[in-house]
């Protein structure tokens, strides 16, 4: 993996962390990525980030919401892990559904005459007279 790609990927994966965590340590982590990359390798660092982000999110979600907070809804500024996983699962299901869905086939050929077809397309079906 080239240096710029891995750095950009690392930067994007930082979005997996909670916003407060990213705000506090994001810049430091990105700066340290370059220093650690030579010794540890990009893949190892990326895996380390994903695992620790998952731990962070689980810890963040497991914190009980205070009672007074029930009256308002926090608009998260970062996609949290649960939301991202849900989107990924639904996305995968949607893609699988699209590719598996059988294409509709007409079992019988259309038996309407040309005049009837014109009338049907003009929405004047009731006026057909033979």
């Amino acid at each position: 993996m080239t240096r710029s790609i891995s750095r950009r990927l690392y930067q994007q994966l930082l979005l997996l962390y909670t916003e407060p965590f990213r705000h506090e340590f994001g810049d430091e982590m990105l700066g340290m990525f370059e220093e650690c990359r030579v010794a540890q390798g990009s893949l190892r660092l990326l895996a380390d980030l994903v695992l620790s982000a998952a731990k962070q999110q689980i810890r963040y979600l497991s914190v009980p919401v205070p009672k007074c907070a029930l009256l308002y809804t926090e608009i998260a500024s970062s996609p949290n892990l649960a939301r991202m996983l849900t989107i990924m699962v639904f996305g995968a299901a949607l893609v699988a559904g699209v590719f598996r869905a059988p294409t509709p086939k007409l079992s019988q050929p259309c038996t309407l005459s040309r005049t009837e077809r014109i009338l049907v397309s003009d929405n004047r079906v009731g006026t057909i007279s033979h």
Binding site: C36, Q40, L45, D48, S52
Partner: protein, 115 residues
């Protein structure tokens, strides 16, 4: 931030190594990673994710505090607090007891099948 009262124990090997390196001197993030690698003779190599995940937890518990740099060129340093030293001592005692008991068991007790 209010320090949490509960003491998570046992600590993970990475967490223990981070606290042990900070017990020696104040260090910045990359310094901690290098010190952990040297101290564990290369057996434990932590990445930035693991490091800052642990540091965040330690700061929430009041075990570690950060020292804001005086200028933009300097790096943020991390220091072990008195509560952190107490937690580390507690963990070292726990490990010490475990090692002593296990040694006694290994050297003193005969296997059951022999008796």
């Amino acid at each position: 931030m209010e320090p949490k009262n509960k003491t998570p124990s046992p600590l993970s090997p990475a967490a223990l190594q981070i606290l042990a390196t900070l017990a020696i001197e104040d260090l910045h993030g990359y310094g901690i990673i290098q010190a952990v690698s040297i101290q564990s003779q290369g057996r434990i190599r932590i990445g930035p994710g693991t490091l800052y995940d642990n540091l965040k937890r330690f700061m929430e518990h009041g075990w570690v505090r950060d020292l804001q740099p005086a200028s933009d060129n300097e790096k943020r340093m991390y220091r072990l607090t008195a509560a952190g030293k107490a937690a580390l001592s507690h963990e070292i005692r726990r490990l010490d007891d475990l090692i002593r008991q296990t040694k006694r068991y290994l050297h003193g007790m005969k296997p059951r099948s022999v008796e």
